[in-house]
């Protein structure tokens, strides 16, 4: 049982609009009991970058898994139990010393939910969406992402069909770590491609 099913009364115009949508859709039978609470709980506690971090750590540890991941991202990610909405076609792009990948959605906010959760605010904002394509090196520098060796930057624009996930380079000096410890090193931003590890 949840501790409290009470929703505070909507106060702002946007809250009233959402409450009206909820009432209409509930009346039409499109919102099962408990659905909103369940979706919210899952996206706040189960679905997030910790899933992608496990995928990355497995790829670092298991060359055969990495091969499968780069060949068919969705299938390899499903091996670890992750999938669902916005994860139907995930393409994993690998960072190397010569190539740095970064993901964006220029039109809206497409993002690989099953492995990264919902996108951060800046990912959805106009400056990032517009500028990452035009001047990625400048945007990455502003975000504090230094790229030693001046690698080629590849910007992947997510679409209705494809969501991208960046496989960051494994940091040096991590040979003795367990897969779980490795996963703890992987940040959300490194899997978007706006940070290095």
């Amino acid at each position: 049982m949840s501790e409290d099913g009470h929703h505070p009364a909507p106060v702002s115009p946007i809250e009233r609009r959402v409450a009206a949508l909820e009432a209409l859709l509930t009346e039409r039978g499109l919102v099962p009991d408990g659905f909103i609470e369940e979706i919210t709980r899952r996206y706040e506690s189960e679905i997030g970058p910790m899933n992608g971090a496990k995928v990355v750590a497995r790829a670092w540890e298991d060359p055969a898994y990495k091969e499968r991941l780069l060949t068919d991202g969705t299938a390899a990610i499903a091996e670890l139990g992750f999938g669902g909405a916005e994860g139907e076609h995930i393409v994993v792009v690998e960072n190397t010393p010569a190539i740095h990948n970064v993901i964006v959605c220029t039109l809206c906010s497409c993002y690989p939910w099953p492995v990264l959760g919902l996108p951060p605010a800046w990912y959805k904002d106009p400056p990032y969406r517009a500028r990452m394509v035009r001047e990625p090196r400048a945007v990455l520098a502003e975000m504090g992402c230094e790229l030693p060796g001046d690698p080629e930057i590849r910007v992947w624009d997510s679409s209705a069909e494809v969501r991208y996930l960046v496989l960051p380079e494994r940091p040096s000096g991590t040979d003795g770590l367990t897969e779980g410890e490795l996963a703890g090193l992987v940040t959300r931003d490194s899997m978007i491609g706006v940070a290095r590890l």
């Binding site: 609009r17 949508l21 959805k124």
Partner: protein, 85 residues
Amino acid sequence: MSAPLSLSELDLPRRNGELAFDAPWQSTVFALAAAVVDRAFAGDREPFRRHLIAAIAAEPERPYWESWTAALEATVATLPERPTS
């Protein structure tokens, strides 16, 4: 008067310093869109996505979840008056 902080709010994960939602109405409208996609469009996200792209393009500086709300309103407006089931 601000709402009291609930235990669930205190417990929310803050991975990379950011919550998935900033306010309850945002998680509600997110879940409502999921319900519509699942139950009115048989899991096809594309109709909603087209409305979201249009809503963002119409007012690029509008806060994201408000554009999301506008997109859901536009999507719902295309549904038949009465459910077929």
